[in-house]
Amino acid sequence: MVITKQPVRLLLTAFVGLLSVVAMANPVTDSAQVKVDTAHVAAEATHTAAEHEVKALTPEEEKKEKVTAFIEHHLQDSHDFTFFSDEKEGKHYGFSLPVILLDNGLKIFSSSKFHHGEEVAEVDGNYYKLYHGKIYKTDATGTITYDEHHHPTNAKPLDFSITKNVFSLLIVSAILLFMFTSLAKSYKKGPVPTGFGRVLEPLILFIRDEVAIPNIGEKKYRKFMGYLLTVFFLIWLLNLLGMTPLGINVTGNIAVTVCLAIFTYIITQFSANKDYWGHIFWMPGVPVPMKIILAPIEVLGTLTKPFALLIRLFANITAGHVVIMSLIAMIFVGKNLAADLPISLGLTLFISIIELLVAFLQAFIFTMLSSLFIGMAVQDHHHDDHEHYDGHDFVDNSIV
């Protein structure tokens, strides 16, 4: 309701909505194209594997397959932190991360045992193999059995490994802690922060004055500031780190966004007041049959809000990564290097700039919508403007 009241924010939101059309929708068709190719190639590969025949792919196909595999590998989490690999010598530059498995007791070992999925790791008499980023229990020779959809049927132990994403999360958390505790300390010296704090303070004020207070209200916003600020800076920093050649993709991982959305959902539901529940289960101002029909819709509505939140962040960041990597891959796949190189670099630069904006916007939107949902749950309703409020609520949902 706040968005629609302020035209600037409406424009911003509309812009963001359109942005995803530009930055996401088109490439999605592209990547779908690639996916189809991949599926085709993969199917072919399994086919050949199944028939124990070595059917040579053309070099071009091989390259495309490699690029797709690389992008998919990048988007996924991994058990070691690889910066780059030397394919000819089979060397991987990076470092291993600890693997923690829950399989008849806790099994902790270094991911170097997998040799990047090339070997079977033996731990306490159990054999594990890394297959497409997931750990499967196997035998000494590393046999993996497949079902008809080419999904491995081997047992999967519960995997609590410190993966690349967990490791990145820890690093980012440490950076955040360092940045903001030093900002907090700088206030002890004087009322105005010095150095980097000068950059951070306006951002905090921005979240407070533009996000929390307008959506939640002057009286109640204080309680939720901790969550909103943490989430905003965490998502933003992770998005930005995703743009670096470190090759991490944390916010583009569905498990991470699900977790963030669940936090928002829990906070919303647990801070909700009587009015909020009243509007969900027994909508005031409508006839009784309507009340009964509306209740399940409203209950579903509480779930779709965080669901939209998690999908939006995941889709935007994943799309950004896919687009940028695909554009860079043009150099390797294309036939004419002289023509492809400037196009590829130019487009990558352009999309990168947009992605920098998206990195901020997605963090902002996640925080903004979280505070909006929290605001809806905690606000005091004025019965005079019920129709008004509900109308806007609907508009809000449809826009963002």
């Binding site: 996924q76 989490d77 923690i100 999904h151 519960l158 995997d159 609590f160 490994s161 410190i162 993966t163 994403n165 967990v166 999360l169 820890l170 958390s173 955040l176 802690l177 903001f180 505790t181 900002l183 907090a184 206030y187 009322p191 105005v192 303070e201 905090i204 004020l205 407070r208 204080r222 500031m225 901790g226 969550y227 600020l229 943490t230 965490l234 991982n253 569905i254 498990a255 991470v256 699900v258 977790c259 963030l260 669940i262 936090f263």
Partner: protein, 166 residues
């Protein structure tokens, strides 16, 4: 959708939840709380400073008016004091003048009386001396006349002449 569900890693979700929870708690305790408090305190400080500056300005104006009033009062008081002093001075001068006149008159009167007294005394003394001299002369004459008849007659005649002349 199937791919998404397949990609969902429970381990990552678990760690993310723990890290996020711990991060929120740590940041709230060590960063957001002190930062927000400092910012709020600073903003309140600024608000207070502006308000107190305003009151100080008003007080200053009041003080100025007070000062002006005091100055006016002091000036008026000074004027009256000066006026009184002038009046007293004039009165004193007038008093002194009249006193001096009275005193002078008195002194003149006394002097006059003294002079009169002295004069009377001097006259009296003169009279005695003159009468004494006259007696002596008369004595001497009588002595001379009585010794010489002729001269007595001359004398009487002379005296008679003198008396006639007188």
């Amino acid at each position: 959708m199937e791919k998404l569900i397949n990609d969902f890693s429970f381990g990552l979700f678990f760690w993310q939840a723990i890290i996020l929870l711990v991060l929120i708690l740590l940041l709230v305790k060590f960063a957001w709380k002190p930062i927000m408090e400092s910012i709020t305190a600073r903003e309140e400080g600024i608000r207070d400073a502006i308000a107190s500056a305003e009151t100080a300005r008003k007080e200053m104006l009041n003080l100025k008016a007070d000062n002006q009033r005091l100055l006016d009062e002091a000036r008026a008081e000074r004027d009256t004091m000066l006026k009184e002093a002038r009046e007293i001075k004039e009165k004193m001068i007038a008093d002194a003048k009249s006193e001096a006149q009275i005193q002078g008159a008195k002194m003149i009167e006394q002097a006059k009386a003294t002079i009169e007294g002295e004069k009377n005394a001097a006259l009296a003394e003169l009279k005695t001396q003159v009468s004494g001299l006259s007696l002596e002369i008369a004595e001497k004459l009588l002595k001379g006349e009585l010794s010489n008849k002729a001269s007595q007659t001359v004398l009487v005649e002379k005296m008679l002449d003198e008396v006639k002349l007188n």
